[in-house]
């Protein structure tokens, strides 16, 4: 009905209103059937095809099929269009109606599941659960809950976001007192369900004695709405059929069934306090009388309801009870002890149940009263602990000792002089070894000693063990010979067993690397221990005795004996269960063979020379077999060149890492100072390879010629100072402990030698000795200047010729110059340890500059916008300066850096010079001049520049 104008603001209208009925109006003619037409949204008539043949919309414009007619859309020739499946969705079979507002798949803006509030309502669920308990079939909602998605609506989500938690009510937080008043305030029925009610009760109970701080607020109580489940039966209000659970529980319905009052007896019964009512077995409902078998005849058979149980007033008691207008009688059952735990239901975490028995109270015993003279310090006498521990298993003993933090013997620094043996003390004091016998035992004759020992062993084996363990201090304190022997012998007897054990453990074990060193602090002791172990491995029975130091006192020896045996058992070779967990490293550091590409790239020096002479082609070209991936060929639309080969990439072979032949062959191919060339092995780091190529560049024969020429020239001071160092050449690790000056000599050679500079020092060292050997054999004493000058030379690759000319006129200075620069450069390389060894290539200057930003290599990217920041006019000069600054960061010492920079400039520029043809040099020099250095520089010029370095510093 359409609402009137004055009251319509209260109502929501839906649908088209009927015209207002006027009484006087003549009856309308019914619309004839043929005029009752249906049109679709476009105004076209729709024909009704019958409810079961399509309704109003059948087919395409009331025809069958589609626009194209009746085409079977499912069949497709599998030949042309394979695997194209008709991917039919349900929507394909729907028409507009279905997509419409009331269709099955409405395509309109609707509240999505996420935002609909009816998704998962905790309170409602709770209420329903409570109701379901009282339903005929208990737990029928259980199934629904199982199926229902465990998603909460957006409202709940929002509430949670705002701090609400499930189980709490909504509203401002209240103080404890206020809330109690609220709940106490007379007509407070808390919810319909028992749990919350009980919850309130129990809390109230608890509150009485509880400390409630003022500043603690509580969320308001949750409200359980009443579940309005429709009645499904035809029975009257309040009818309750036979309840199987009740029947089984043997409890008759004693009371009027209160629909609304959750704390009624029937409800609480559901929650487990079934013992409360009168017990009665069998089936008992309202409609049943007393069975013949039932003994209790007096009971009221027919249920009588009286009005006093009902509430006769409307309203009044409502406020705050959360029942929202229910007028059911409000009786409060007494709070019983039993209902308490049921009442906890609301609080208990999901998945937990209340304990049946209360937790046992722990009886706490008071600590023992300490005697007056008690001092809370305890000292273990070392010998006592040993003799005491010898009885038990060594592992346990060790554990005990470590747990007490009492590692006495292993840690000398802990115990001072008591932990040193006599030999060590002697060494500390600087005394000589005593000549006499070290033990009283040795004063005796051997047979007497034997006799004494055996006697002690036999007699004391049983009794002594107890004496030593119970009161070892006494045994020690008594200074007689017997007393001294006693613990020792008993220890020896137990030791014997342990020794055998250790022997069994270690015998035949061939592991050479003994990783754990228990006596590392005391080298001599460790050595003895290792000696002992090695003997154990060989299966010597008397390993222990042989490995001990005869120079020590008997007592010390016995101690050591103990320790060795214990340690050998504790650190026995790992058992199979342990070893099975570890595998050996696949690639060991010191692996002899290494994967090398089958077609070894040839000598880079030759190629370098070829490049220098611009003889590109055969000399610089290498061709390898390369296996592309099958799929890659497929994607490139190219037949696989190596069909059937499972190989991908460049074939590899195993080759010895350092074989003599490698050195020999290369030594043959090059001149006599040719560096030994380890094969291109183990690509440790690709990053370092580039500079290796750069080093190669230096080794061109031409430069060597010049070097040879240079060697004849007089020496400069710098070189002469470093001459004396030469004879020490073959020392392998020499380069590491050298002064920078020395380094400058060896380094270039090293660089040449380590054909493949891996950047890792150890490998460098490995490759070094043969090199030095070569040097020592082949080179004259003037070699190091040649090498150092070769460094300088190699940097300046390009302009050697010019310089050679210059040398004729002005010899000492250029050499000097080179030496200075080269030294500085190399020292720089040593200073910045992170940089790969050689810093001499131009490419590396770039790399250097880049590493400053991050670990980058190779040609770098230009700065984002230099000109935007700086004046654009000086930009050309800026670039190098920037790079220089970056370098400065790397090199901590600035003065060194200065030279470094300078040197790099030279080198860079020489680079260019090399590439340029002489005829072009003139034309190009202009551009270079702008950079501050030009192609062929005379030595005077260089010298001048060197002197004016401070002025250039500001670059």
């Amino acid at each position: 009905m359409a609402s009137d104008s004055d009251s319509d603001e209260d109502f929501v209208t839906y649908g088209t209103p009927l015209e207002p009925l006027e009484e006087d109006e003549p009856l309308k003619k019914p619309v004839p059937l043929h005029e009752q037409t249906v049109k679709d949204e476009k105004g076209r008539y729709k024909r009704f095809h019958g409810a079961f043949t399509g309704g109003f919309s059948a087919g395409y414009f009331n025809t069958v099929g589609s626009k194209e007619g009746w085409t079977p859309s499912t069949f497709l020739s599998s030949r042309q269009q394979k695997a194209e499946k008709p991917n039919a969705r349900p929507e394909d079979f729907m028409d507009e109606e279905d997509f419409g507002e009331h269709g099955i798949a409405p395509r309109e803006i609707t509240t999505s599941q996420e935002f609909s509030s009816s998704r998962r309502d905790e309170a409602r669920e709770k209420a329903r659960a409570v109701n379901a308990q009282s339903a005929l079939i208990t737990g029928d909602t259980l199934l629904e809950e199982l199926i229902a998605p465990a998603r909460s609506s957006i409202g709940v989500e929002l509430l949670k976001r705002m701090g609400w938690k499930e189980g709490q009510g909504v509203g401002p937080r209240v103080k404890r007192k206020a809330r109690r008043q609220q709940s106490d305030g007379g007509a407070k029925v808390y919810g319909c369900a028992l749990p919350p009610e009980g919850l309130a009760d129990s809390e109230d109970d608890d509150d009485d004695g509880e400390f409630a701080p003022e500043n603690v607020t509580f969320a308001p109580k949750d409200v359980t709405p009443v579940d309005f489940t429709p009645r499904s039966g035809v029975q009257g209000l309040g009818y309750r059929g036979l309840d199987p659970s009740l029947a089984l529980l043997g409890q008759g319905a004693a009371e009027h069934i209160d629909l609304f009052r959750p704390e009624s007896e029937t409800r609480s019964r559901l929650f487990g306090n079934a013992q409360r009512g009168s017990r009665r077995g069998g089936v008992a409902g309202q409609a049943f009388g007393v069975g013949a078998l039932e003994d209790d005849d007096d009971e009221e058979v027919y249920h009588r309801d009286n009005m006093s149980r009902y509430d006769t007033t409307l309203g009044g008691e409502e406020p705050g009870d959360g029942l929202y207008g229910w007028t059911a009688p409000q009786q409060y059952t007494k709070k019983t002890e039993r209902s308490k735990d049921a009442s906890y239901l609301g609080k208990i975490l999901e998945g937990f149940t209340l304990a049946q028995k209360p937790a046992e109270e722990k009886t706490i015993f008071p600590p023992p009263s300490l005697p007056r003279d008690y001092r809370p310090i305890h000292r273990f006498l070392p010998s006592v602990s040993i003799s005491g521990l010898s009885g038990i298993s060594p592992a346990l003993a060790e554990a005990l000792r470590t747990s007490k933090g009492h590692m006495v013997k292993e840690e000398p620094q802990q115990g001072g002089r008591h932990q040193l043996d006599s030999g060590q003390r002697r060494a500390l004091l600087g005394e000589d070894t005593l000549q006499g016998p070290s033990s009283v035992m040795e004063l005796l004759r051997p047979e007497d000693r034997e006799r004494l020992l055996s006697l002690c062993n036999s007699s004391n084996q049983t009794s002594n063990k107890t004496t030593t363990t119970t009161n070892p201090p006494d045994a020690l304190q008594s200074t007689g010979l017997a007393a001294r022997v006693l613990p020792q012998s008993s220890a020896a007897s137990t030791c014997l067993l342990q020794q055998q054990e250790a022997l069994a453990a270690w015998k035949g074990v061939q592991t050479s690397s003994q990783t754990f060193k228990p006596f590392e602090k005391n080298p001599s002791k460790q050595a003895r221990y290792e000696h002992y172990l090695s003997r154990l491995r060989q299966g010597h029975k008397d390993a222990l005795e042989q490995s001990l130091d005869p120079g020590m006192t008997e007592w010390e020896r016995s101690r050591e004996r103990e320790e060795f045996v214990r340690a050998s058992i504790l650190y026995r070779p790992s058992s199979s269960s342990l070893t099975s967990r570890f595998t050996r490293a696949k690639q060991q550091e010191d692996d002899d063979t290494v994967e090398v590409s089958q077609d070894q790239e040839g000598d880079v020096d030759d190629k370098q020379a070829a490049v220098k002479m611009k003889m590109f082609g055969k000399l610089t070209r290498e061709t390898f077999e390369w296996h592309p991936d099958k799929l890659l060929c497929k994607r490139f639309n190219v037949p696989d060149p190596y069909t059937g080969s499972g190989l991908v990439g460049v074939p590899k072979i195993k080759r010895d890492k350092f074989s003599v032949f490698n050195f020999l062959t290369v030594a043959d191919s090059r001149e006599m100072r040719a560096p030994p060339k380890p094969p291109e092995s183990s690509k440790k780091s690709r990053w370092d390879v580039s500079e290796h190529t750069e080093q190669k560049k230096k080794n061109d024969p031409l430069s060597e010629l010049i070097i040879a020429a240079r060697n004849q020239t007089p020496e400069t001071e710098v070189n002469q100072t470093s001459v004396p160092d030469l004879p020490a050449l073959p020392v392998p690790t020499r380069a590491n402990d050298q002064t920078p000056g020395n380094k400058s000599e060896t380094k270039p050679v090293d660089q040449q030698s380590s054909d493949k500079k891996k950047g890792s020092d150890d490998e460098e060292e490995e490759s070094r000795p043969p090199m030095d050997l070569f040097k020592a054999i082949f080179e004259s004493s003037s070699d190091e200047k040649s090498s150092s000058s070769s460094e300088g030379e190699s940097e300046n690759e390009g302009g050697e010729k010019d310089r050679k000319k210059d040398e004729g006129t002005d010899e000492p200075q250029p050499v000097n110059l080179f030496n200075i620069t080269s030294t500085s450069s190399v020292t720089c390389s040593t200073v910045t340890a992170s940089i790969p060894p050689s810093t001499t290539s131009s490419q590396q200057t770039a790399a250097l500059a880049q590493t400053q930003v991050e670990e980058e290599f190779g040609p770098k990217l230009p700065p984002p916008s230099a000109s935007l920041i700086r004046g654009s006019a000086t930009l050309n000069e800026e670039k190098p300066s920037k790079r220089g600054k970056e370098k400065k960061h790397k090199n901590k010492k600035q003065h060194k850096h200065k030279k470094d920079k300078k040197k790099k400039k030279h080198k860079k520029h020489k680079h260019k010079g090399k590439q340029q043809k002489s005829k072009k040099e003139a034309s190009n020099s202009s551009s270079e001049d702008s950079d501050g250095d030009d192609g062929p520089v005379s030595t005077e010029e260089l010298l001048k520049r060197l002197k004016s370095v401070p002025s250039h510093q500001s670059w």
């Binding site: 590109f616 190779g858 040609p859 000109s867 654009s872």
Partner: protein
């Protein structure tokens, strides 16, 4: 005359600045024509790639999704996809129209310097500072590379694909040519770190620029040097070089703010194009016409043989 005279045609060079595009994406690390030369891609250091119209200089689309500066990009032959690589070690395949990331390919151990589609855009090849070239399949959903070419001993700075050949330039000073059809790898030793490699249009030569400030033209089959072009400055930065569309000229970026253009045959410097004050970082030559893109700092400049209408000139600052 029975035979028509060959039309005398002066070698055309991109003399004239047609347009300057301020890309607004930090430094432009690379600028690339698309397959037909109507659009250009600019790779910015602000992690974005931008697609521009060459003729109008308008921004068409921005592709963002990289985690660090974009170092190179390439468009597929059908202009439907873009691949790009970045310092964030990833290679991304983009859908041009939607601007969405079709695939993000991770596997490189370091920043990825260069990326290229193969001819049919079925494979993306990317060269990285980790010294590997990875071949990514665009067809399958596999996220691992089809093949990893780890022959380079140092950072792969540049790579090009032509038909069945893959050309890579590496900082170890070698130019490697992988011939898929023959199953061979040809290594040409240049000795100086390679910054850029190119195939000539006829596919018979390779061009490689290196940090010794030299551009070399090598015969592809034998490795012999056909030409050497010097005069520019390329000592520290990874700059581009290329050949003109007709293979008549060799062009190279320079650190002195010019683009050098040499006659391919004679080796003489025929044009020294002043681009700006800073380093000319990247450039790209139009696939068919005489049109050159240069990237310097934050802007891309379009150069042509003939000056365009005046309004364009007025746009140029």
């Amino acid at each position: 005359m029975a035979f028509p005279q060959p039309r005398p045609q002066a070698p055309q060079l991109p003399h004239h600045l047609l347009r300057t595009i301020e890309c607004q994406q930090g430094a432009v690390r690379a600028v690339r024509f698309n397959a037909d030369g109507n659009y250009l891609l600019s790779c910015g250091s602000d992690k974005s790639i931008k697609l521009w119209s060459v003729s109008r200089g308008t921004l068409l689309k921005t592709y963002s999704g990289h985690g660090y500066e974009v170092l190179d990009a390439d468009g597929s032959y059908d202009n439907s996809q873009i691949c790009s690589c970045s310092s964030d070690k990833s290679v991304i395949l983009w859908d041009v129209t939607t601007g969405q990331v079709t695939r993000k390919l991770r596997g490189h151990a370091g920043k990825v310097n260069c990326v290229q589609f193969n001819e049919e855009a079925t494979v993306i090849l990317s060269g990285s500072i980790d010294g590997t070239v990875r071949c990514w399949d665009t067809r399958s959903r596999r996220f691992e590379a089809i093949q990893v070419l780890d022959e380079a001993r140092d950072s792969v700075s540049s790579l090009k694909v032509a038909q069945h050949e893959l050309l890579t330039g590496s900082v170890d000073g070698r130019v490697r040519r992988y011939d898929l059809r023959m199953g061979q790898l040809h290594v040409d030793f240049i000795s100086s770190p390679i910054t850029c490699v190119c195939f000539s249009q006829d596919g018979q030569c390779t061009l490689s620029s290196s940090l010794d400030s030299t551009v070399r033209l090598l015969d592809k089959s034998t490795g012999e040097m056909l030409g050497e072009y010097t005069g520019h400055k390329m000592k520290g930065y990874k700059l581009d070089c290329c050949l003109s569309s007709k293979d008549t000229h060799v062009l190279s970026c320079s650190e002195d703010g010019h683009v050098y253009c040499w006659d391919l045959v004679e080796g003489s410097l025929s044009l020294k194009l002043p681009v700006g004050k800073a380093v000319v970082q990247s450039m790209s030559f139009h696939p068919t016409e005489t049109c050159l893109l240069t990237a310097m700092e934050g802007r891309v400049q379009v150069w042509g043989a003939e000056p365009e209408e005046t309004e364009d000139d007025s746009m140029v600052t």
